[in-house]
């Protein structure tokens, strides 16, 4: 099983993603500069968190124009797995892999804290090791994390994409008080119709080791690479 992390100018959670993948699965995921991506083969590509291109214009807008994105499209069409974390999610949305758009948090400032999340769907490789309705804890750290959908996009929910994680309270209730940024329906993560592309605002790599408590983030990586190991993804 091969994994790799795509690095854009301004990405800053790339080492973290690689570290977490190794701790959780033993797989060594190299850091690959975005213009070199086409030369590297991997079963799982990660678009990490950070401030690619300084978040200029809109978060992820400029990274979405990188040649790496074409390589990612081919990768996904050939059955590969693609994970966008935080800024990575923003890039996936700007590049059209996933619907929606991001806006500033309701509180209009960057917010770093732990949140509870309800697992809405487990039929994606990334979520296959969680239970539907399970409540997990992961940290968020973002300023433009409010996920919004255009009218036509919201209506295609379930057809072109699925809600994967929602902000909730400790008891698993998805409600406004538990929503840290004003995302519509408390949406924290979304997959495409196939489940092989996951965009998530919380950082699984930041809670993927026992030191950090529940290590709830581990299973995102273990699920993805375990699936590949079982041959469910693309061929060897």
């Amino acid at each position: 099983m091969r994994a790799a992390v795509c690095v854009f100018p301004g990405s800053n959670c790339d080492r973290d993603a690689s570290h977490a993948i190794r701790e959780a699965t033993g797989v060594v995921a190299p850091l690959v500069w975005h213009t070199d991506v086409a030369r590297v083969r991997a079963d799982l590509w990660v678009l990490p968190g950070g401030f690619s291109y300084g978040d200029y214009l809109r978060a992820g807008a400029l990274a979405a124009l990188s040649p790496a994105i074409d390589a990612m499209r081919r990768h996904v069409n050939e059955g590969g797995l693609l994970l966008g974390i935080c800024n990575g999610f923003q890039i996936l949305v700007e590049a059209g892999f996933l619907p929606g758009a991001f806006q500033s948090n309701d509180v209009l400032h960057f917010t770093a804290r732990d949140v509870f999340l309800r697992v809405a769907r487990t039929s994606s490789p990334f979520l296959s090791l969680y239970r539907e309705g399970e409540v997990i804890e992961l940290p968020i750290a973002h300023g433009e994390g409010s996920y919004q959908m255009g009218d036509d996009e919201a209506s295609r929910l379930g057809a072109t994409h699925h809600v994967a994680l929602q902000y909730c309270d400790g008891a698993g209730r998805v409600q406004p008080e538990a929503n840290p940024n004003g995302s519509v329906d408390g949406i924290a993560a979304v997959t495409d119709a196939t489940g092989r592309v996951l965009g998530m605002m919380p950082h699984p790599e930041r809670n993927a080791e026992p030191l950090f408590g529940t290590a709830d983030g581990q299973r995102i990586f273990q699920g993805a690479l375990g699936t590949v190991r079982r041959g469910v993804g693309r061929g060897a």
Binding site: P9, G10, N12, C13, R15, D16, H19, A20, W33, G49, G50, F51, Y53, G54, D55, Y56, V107, L108, H109, F110, T111, A112, R113, P139, A141, G143, H203, E205, R206, P210, L211, G213
Partner: protein, 707 residues
């Protein structure tokens, strides 16, 4: 006095020294360069003599003061670079950019050592919340710190936020940066061999902050007319700079490295040359410019952010430029290292500067400050306990600082084992199989009462915070924020504070590895409180279970280790008993390592009462407390100063705690139990948990945006 002298910010005496040093009248650019380099901010002319009393060598010091950052050997083949620096005056005028560029500047200082920046801590001082201007400053500064730290991807893991009328409209922003490097990755800022190239890396140069350092050496007035060219930080460029520089360093392409901070190219090149006993020849036409028509002086003194100066061997020039291009950073060879120790700069063939390096760097005449004897001002005596509770809980010190540090990414890098809100931050350095501890402390009201003792207490509080997370100190970096040094009282406080820090550091054998002095803080005629900020770095004892420390809860009984009464019960800071502090700190570390007790709180501002009320609020529990028999009640609860620690531990730990205190020559008292819905002291209800929790969660500032 020559008008050029005034324009350059030089005194009559300094002008005369300059003319003598050159043997002629200075060229216009030369006068301006000396003016900036000899300013307080760059030359430390008022403070250098006093600072010589700091212990700076020994222990784990790899690089002491004098370089861009101090460096410590943390074992396992790894080095740690750390430094704290202020950016007060720019933040008072343009808070967002002032704070942001302060973060960028200190980060690049650490980067200059070849270290990857891994953490920030920030000490912020504001006027009381509710005043429109101070709220605007606070919002801007917090946002600026967040903007830079978050975007550049360096976790902000600790700090402090203080409010006092003394800082009204004159905020303090002190940023500490920590970085790590492998042993063989250490870089110095001493210029390479004769003939090697000076490579300017980073943003194109504009007119930002021209003569900003000289500006910092005059007190602030808030009006628009004095608003100078403010430097703009660009953390995205900052991030590219970090990665580019580290790649260059890793590939062995850098002989030496300097940050372009105050006085830009001039100070970076002059310092690099001075340290090597060499000179530089710079072609200003080669400097990539952002604006048209810049004069030689403007290019030489520009403080455009996100730039560094690297010294590169001739044979490595091409490879270095290629790496910069790959990362998308402008880079240009702007000069050469020369044998003759002269700073030579020309623009389009016209010589702008040809000064001996010795005159430029280190040529500023120093003046020594002196301490006045017997200036001890008694602090206000503590009121009755219940009144003290009301004051504490109602003050701006009580609400949780989470509302501040929530703006900061505290976990990027995956090294943060304990982040903001604890006794000290804990950072994993897996490369060295070590955990590093870091804290910043400040006790300005104590320093105002007695500079020597107050500053000593500041260092001791940092020692205790480190002990409370199982760490022993290995280095200090200090930021000394004071008013106008020509004011005899300010000068006296400065000397006394330095003496206090030096004394404690010497007895503890903890070197001061570098720091920063910021004078002229305050409104005209009204200096700030003397505010020495101490940053302390430590190593966690390997036997400590950090995961357990993270999880520790306040349960069982409460114990006080150390002195029953805080030393300041009688209204004055105590003389420091450094030996007792060191011994008790060692015992505390031992208790944590054995797992006897996991929950420790240090006792600082507000004394034991503040520590207990804070514990009750954060753990959402009541306390039943009893004053130790025979002790003075107000001394126990309101006294400040140590050595004292508050432990929460199971009842069964009592004997072990008593034994540890005895070994340190101190005592242990059982203060009471944890539980219930109120805090009771000697049977009297002091506060309800409900009220404490509400006050802990109270907003410090409104949420409105101020234009």
């Amino acid at each position: 006095m020559a008008p050029e002298a005034t324009q350059a910010g030089l005194s009559e005496e300094e002008w005369a020294v300059l003319v003598r040093g050159l043997g002629r009248q200075p060229r216009p650019a030369e006068a301006l360069m000396a003016g900036v380099l000899w300013s307080e901010h760059c030359s430390y002319k008022h403070s250098k003599t006093t600072l010589r009393s700091f212990p700076t060598a020994g222990g784990r010091v790899a690089v002491g003061p004098g370089e861009n950052a101090g460096v410590l050997d943390i074992g396992g083949g790894m080095l740690l670079a750390a430094k704290i620096e202020s950016h007060n005056h720019p933040s008072a005028v343009e808070p967002f950019q002032g704070a942001a560029t302060g973060m960028g500047g200190i980060m690049r200082d650490v980067l200059s050592a070849g270290a990857r920046p891994i953490a920030f801590l920030d000490a912020l001082f504001f006027g009381p919340p509710g005043e429109a201007t101070d709220d605007w400053l606070a919002h801007g500064i917090v946002a600026g710190v967040a903007h830079y730290g978050n975007c550049v991807g360096v976790a902000t893991v600790g700090g402090l936020t203080r409010f006092d009328e003394a800082y009204a409209r004159t905020p303090l922003v002190n940023a500490l940066c920590i970085g790590i490097a492998p042993m063989d990755g250490l870089l110095r800022s001493s210029a390479g061999p004769v003939g090697s190239k000076l490579l300017l890396i980073g943003a194109a140069t504009g007119r930002d902050g021209v003569a900003g350092a000289a500006f910092a050496s005059r007190e602030t007035s808030q009006d628009e007319a004095t608003r100078p060219q403010v430097q703009i930080g660009d953390p995205f460029q900052g991030k590219l700079l970090v990665e580019t520089v580290l790649e260059l360093a890793e590939k062995g392409l850098i002989c030496s490295l300097g940050d372009l901070g105050a006085a830009g190219i001039t100070s970076a090149a002059a310092e690099m040359a001075a340290r090597a006993g060499r000179g530089v020849r710079i072609d200003l036409s080669a400097v990539p410019l952002r604006e048209n028509g810049m004069t030689a002086a403007e290019i030489l003194l520009s403080e455009t952010q996100e730039r560094m100066l690297a010294c590169v061997r001739v044979e490595d020039e091409k490879a270095a430029l290629a790496i910069c291009a790959r990362w998308g950073l402008p880079a240009a060879v702007i000069g050469t290292v020369t044998e003759e120790p002269t700073f030579h700069a020309s623009l389009d063939g016209a010589v702008a500067c040809a000064m001996p390096i010795a005159v430029l760097s280190g040529g500023a005449p120093l003046s020594a400050l002196s301490e006045m004897g017997g200036q001890r001002t008694p602090a206000a005596p503590p009121k009755d306990i219940l009144a003290a509770v009301m004051d504490l809980v109602g003050s701006a010190a009580f609400p949780s600082r989470r509302q501040v540090f929530e703006h900061f990414d505290d976990r990027v890098g995956l090294r943060t084992a304990v982040g903001p809100g604890g006794e000290a931050a804990l950072l994993r350095v897996w490369e060295a199989s070590a955990t590093v501890a870091a804290t910043v402390t400040a006790r300005p009201r104590l320093v105002a009462a007695d500079a020597f003792s107050g500053a000593a207490e500041t260092v001791l509080e940092a020692l205790r915070r480190l002990a409370a997370v199982g760490a022993r100190p290995i280095g200090i970096t200090d930021c000394l924020n004071f008013g106008d040094p020509d004011d005899a009282a300010v000068a006296s406080d400065f000397v006394g504070a330095v003496r206090g820090i030096a004394q404690v550091a010497t007895v503890l054998s903890v070197p001061v590895i570098g720091g920063n002095v910021s004078f002229y803080n305050g409104r005209p005629g009204q200096p700030i409180l003397p505010t020495p900020v101490v940053g302390m770095i430590g190593l966690v004892d390997p036997a400590i279970d950090v995961a357990a420390l993270r999880r520790a809860k306040a349960e069982g009984s409460l114990f006080l280790l150390g002195r029953a009464e805080g030393g300041m019960a009688k209204g004055l800071p105590p003389g420091p008993d450094v030996d007792a502090e060191a011994r008790l700190a060692e015992e505390v570390i031992g208790l944590l390592a054995e797992g006897v007790a996991g929950f420790v709180k240090t006792i600082g501002h507000g004394g034991l009462l503040a520590a207990a009320l804070g514990l009750a609020a954060d753990s959402r529990t009541g306390l039943r407390l009893v004053t130790p028999e025979g002790a003075d009640r107000s001394g126990v609860w309101c006294g400040e100063g140590g050595p004292r620690y508050l432990f929460a531990a199971p009842q069964g730990a009592e004997e072990r705690l008593r034994h540890a205190a005895g070994r340190a020559g101190c005592e242990m008292w059982r203060l009471g139990t944890i539980g219930g819905d109120a805090v009771l002291i000697d049977g009297e209800r002091a506060a309800t948990v409900e009220n404490l929790v509400a006050r802990r969660g109270a907003r410090l500032w409104g949420t409105g945006v101020r234009a």
